[in-house]
Amino acid sequence: MSTFKFPPSITSRPVYGTLEPRSGKHHLMIADAEGAEALFDLVEKDPDLIAHAHIMYFPAADDTGYAEKLKAFSPSKLYVGPSYSAAVPRLRRILQDAHMGLQVYLAGTEGLMGQAMSEATNAGIPHTAIQTEHRGSVARRMQCVHCKGITENVVTDPFTCSHCGLNLFVRDHYSRRIAAFQGVCVDAEDPGNVPPKRELYS
């Protein structure tokens, strides 16, 4: 099962919904890994969407056929790429050429949705008008509030900053601008006194 119900938290923490078809002439769908399942459900609700859909998909390394299944839908355009970061210039170009009325659907991990959301809002779409659906891993994209470095795919709390090496506590405090949660030093007052690592949401 690729869905996970996040417990209620502070208002800063993003909440995700279920993708619903919306009216519009163009539909941009961006998903990674199990996010593909949310796109399958979306297309099932409105099969007509697919003819006007531009899909950007980033399969997991052990993809079990999601990419093939998306291809079989024959969307208007399908891009399957190795990573989101490699596709950022492509996404920016798509948004630059897009017109109002474009519907944006994001599905998959929080890191992917957050970063794509930030590009779409920079392009001028109000963030409240962008749909999201979480699927798959609960790993987080974390920013170290001390050195500002980003550590991707954080699955434990605390974790070690991949840039400055501090032991960071995983907060629900989120930045839409940089699409990352904030990590704060957990042993600042008593260096070395680090609580045992726990898997997120375990």
Binding site: S23, G24, A98, L102, G124
Partner: protein
């Protein structure tokens, strides 16, 4: 206290008839000082002492928001209205002292927009005049589509087309010119926001078309001032103030509450802002909801009323005021 009830004493320093229906009024501070700054789309509430009645009508400020020496408004004469615009047209003279409110903006530009697409109908042009001045000063990207009856009644058509020949598009109804809305909305770049000010039909047309084409609600802004309508007189009781009085035929409920000496909250006086929302404790009769603030279920519940524009028909209405 209401945010919009800070008052300024002003003197009328210029009156310019623009055409058969519209006249422009200029106000400067009576004490010679500077007026508060405002942002494009703001309105002021003008106090008019018409015999025994005091009218408070909102008008969009159309002058340059950066110019603090004077405010100007343009008023369309409404011969069938309750008399506010007629009073301004007929009774106000250069040199008269008047009282106006601090500016309040319920129709501000969203400065996150990459482009501002303005759609005006008739006298709905006025807030855009101030917004365009504001955007021109900051090199903002805008496009105005302005529909009016004909050249003679098209207030500021010449000024606008001369100052902004590439950004202003005018449509004269009498010449059969009409805005091709669907085509206009279809090609707009991402980050465009729509602003509509005009008759209700136009606002609904643009909002519906934008929604169908997939525009986000957050990118569609509109302003429609409802003028309070006349109606049958009725009795109102204010529970907290322990007062009971009649609301006259040509008086709004809010005006009657004020005339009774109760300081009730308000901002737009046009059914849009929600400031004057009041709880109804009892109503022996029917509430005539005319605002576009309350949700349909709130209107049906009979527990809320917007006294600036809504009325009552029946024996008595009791308000929590």
């Amino acid at each position: 206290m209401s945010a919009g009830t800070n008052k300024i004493g002003v003197v009328v320093t210029d009156i310019v008839p623009l055409n058969e229906l519209v006249t422009r009024f200029k106000f400067e501070r009576a004490d010679g000082g500077l007026l508060p700054t405002f942002s494009g789309g703001a309105h002021t509430v003008i106090e008019m002492k018409d015999g025994e009645t005091t009218r408070l009508n909102p008008y969009s400020l159309m002058s340059d928001p950066a110019d603090r020496h004077a405010y100007t408004i343009s008023v369309r004469r409404d011969d069938a209205g309750r008399g506010g615009s007629l009073f301004l047209h007929k009774n106000v003279r250069i040199g008269d002292e008047m009282v106006i409110s601090y500016p309040v903006n319920l129709f501000a530009l969203d400065l996150r927009a990459h482009k501002h697409l303005m759609i005006a109908g008739g006298i709905g042009i006025t807030p855009f005049l101030a917004q365009i001045k504001q955007l021109s000063a900051t090199n903002g990207r805008f496009e105005l589509h302005y529909a009016c009856r004909n050249q003679a009644l098209g207030s500021y058509v010449d000024d606008l087309t001369t100052a902004h020949p590439n950004n202003v598009h005018v449509y004269f109804d009498d010449d059969g010119q009409a805005l091709d809305l669907e085509n206009l909305l279809d090609g707009q770049p991402l980050g465009t926001h729509i602003y509509i000010c005009g008759p209700k039909g136009m606002i609904n047309w643009v909002r519906d078309t934008a929604e169908r084409l997939g525009w986000p609600r957050e990118a569609v802004h509109y302003e429609e001032f409802l003028a309070p309508q006349s109606g049958k007189p009725f009795t109102v009781k204010l529970a907290k103030s322990d007062l009971e009085f009649e609301v006259g035929e040509h008086q709004s409920l809010l005006e009657a509450i004020e005339a009774a000496g109760v300081d009730a909250p308000y901002l737009c006086r046009g059914g849009a802002c929600g400031q004057c929302e009041t709880d109804v404790l009892e109503a022996d009769g029917e509430i005539l909801h005319r605002d576009h603030w309350l949700e349909d279920d709130e209107k049906e519940s009979g527990k809320k009323i917007m006294p600036c524009v809504s009325r009552f028909e029946g024996r008595i209405i009791v308000l929590d005021r």
